[in-house]
């Protein structure tokens, strides 16, 4: 290349960027965005974890005071119970439903960096759809996951940016071992109702002692079984799950994130609805007209933006 042109190109780039100023807070902002992205899939993990723990409750409760082989036997018992329960649920083809509200820890308003106030989520065996709304009731973000051969098809809508992002995650649907507990939980995150995966996941969760019974909590006149994580490092999400002792179905989940001077909490209630045409419509992703469509390259679960989702959430 002509040396004069090389120098000219360099000076052009120099001139073009000479007034660039590094803004303060860029890394913090990236951190908040990173954290928010992970929270966005909280509902998927919550629904799955809740059902898992509902089954795990049986084993853990029964195993209180026992150890060794007893725990292994109870884990097997849990798997059986949950398999039976989920098979029954699957036959009904009901749509699971959850409603989550968020608040700042020190006020009734959403915390900084947590822009949505209410999230509604519906899911079946092969489809998950969540829509988040701001405090004024406007849609803020939606996240839809559809199981496809070999992976998951994800569709996210960023309403503020009028952007729809399409991406496929490959390699989803494979349960991980205990040595990769984060992977186990990540599988939960993206297989919200993959019934065939749950027994393996339950084995790992119970075996890895990722959940424990923490007594009861009375809600609406019912003493619900309360489950918490054994340890939550500072800065990680803390999850408390309340399970109905009669049905062993999840009733409520509270997720808390706190650091000195800041924090937020979300409360999720669970339910189900029959698969009527109107209810099934909730599973469909919104397709706002005029939004920019962005098609991302497929990513493997382990390397995707969501790959280690729950490893961060659960501090593994």
């Amino acid at each position: 290349m002509n040396p004069q042109l090389t120098e000219e190109l360099r000076s052009s780039m120099e001139q073009f960027t000479e007034h660039v100023v590094m803004p303060q807070g860029l890394a913090r902002s990236a951190y908040l965005r990173w954290r928010k992205r992970r929270v966005m899939t909280r509902a998927a993990a919550a629904a799955a974890a809740a059902a898992v723990v509902a089954g795990a409750a049986v084993a853990i409760t029964a195993a209180a005071g026992d150890s060794g082989n007893a725990q292994a036997q109870d884990a097997a018992y849990v798997v059986t119970r949950v398999e039976n329960a989920l098979t029954a649920i699957g036959r009904g083809n009901n749509i699971s439903f959850s409603r989550t509200t968020s608040t700042g820890l020190n006020s009734s308003a959403p915390a900084a960096g947590f822009p949505w106030r209410t999230a509604l989520a519906w899911n079946t065996r092969d489809r998950f759809n969540e829509i988040e709304y701001t405090s004024s009731g406007r849609p803020f973000f939606s996240f839809t996951v559809t199981r496809v051969p070999g992976g998951l098809q994800m569709l996210t809508v960023q309403y503020a940016h009028r952007l729809v992002i399409h991406q496929e995650l490959t390699g989803a649907g494979t349960a991980r071992g205990c040595s990769t507990a984060a992977g186990v939980l990540a599988t939960l995150d993206f297989n919200p109702n993959d019934l065939t995966n749950w027994p393996a996941t339950i084995r790992a969760l119970v075996g890895c002692k990722l959940l424990r019974v923490a007594g009861h909590q009375r809600v609406g006149g019912v003493d619900l079984i309360k489950f918490v994580q054994p340890q939550v490092p500072v800065g990680y999400l803390s999850v408390a799950l309340l399970v109905n002792p009669s049905t062993f179905l999840p009733s409520r989940m509270v997720v808390t994130w706190s650091q000195p001077g800041q924090g937020w909490q979300t409360t999720t209630g669970f339910g189900s609805m029959p698969p009527t045409r109107a209810n099934l419509a909730h599973l469909s992703a919104p397709a706002p007209a005029g939004f920019t469509q962005s098609y991302q390259r497929p990513e493997a679960v382990g390397s995707s933006a969501y790959g280690n989702e729950t490893s961060w959430m659960f501090g593994q």
Partner: protein
């Protein structure tokens, strides 16, 4: 290490040594705003993989920055580049520097029309002043790919150097390297 703490450390790092990265990001995207977005996206990816990163995070950050840029990063960046082609880059210059600035503007405009990978190669080679092997390492491609991308990009720039209009580069169009 917790990510929150990592973010604090990165904040300090950016204050000390972040400006060259942001300048590269601005060149790769065509505007200060988009450059910040790109750098933030690279930071987000760095935080995501923080636990598994050994060695210099700056090198990882730089590599991620170029990877994201070379991969097109955001499809919506197209409109930004088109927008840049429509407005003056340096609206206020003294009369005696007008021709020089116009020429530099034209070079930058042409740079911004290049496909992402070609643009990344040009920034690496003539802004970062890396050799072909080093540029290939940053982009995670072969030296041959860097050579061919550089050659194609420079062909466009030569057209401008020779004073001929660039007739074969549709504005904002993404093409293969």
């Amino acid at each position: 290490m917790e990510r929150a703490q990592a973010a604090e450390e990165l904040e300090f790092f950016l204050a000390q040594r972040g400006k060259p990265l942001l300048r590269a990001a601005v060149l790769l995207t065509g505007s200060h705003e988009a450059g910040e977005d790109l750098l933030q996206a690279a930071l987000e990816r760095l935080l995501r993989h923080w636990a598994s990163i050994s060695g210099d995070p700056e090198a990882y950050l730089r590599q991620t920055l170029y990877h994201l840029a070379a991969d097109g990063w955001r499809q919506q960046g197209l409109w930004r580049r088109k927008y840049l082609l429509l407005r003056p880059l340096h609206p206020a210059v003294t009369q005696d520097r007008t021709e020089e600035v116009d020429r530099r503007d034209a070079l930058i405009r042409l740079l911004l029309q290049l496909p992402p990978r070609q643009r990344a190669v040009i920034v690496l080679r003539y802004w970062e002043q890396l050799n072909e092997a080093e540029a290939a390492e940053v982009l995670g491609c072969s030296v041959g790919t860097v050579k061919s991308a550089t050659s194609r990009a420079l062909a466009r720039l030569r057209q401008l150097s020779a004073g001929r209009p660039d007739t074969d580069a549709p504005q904002g169009q993404e093409t293969a390297v």
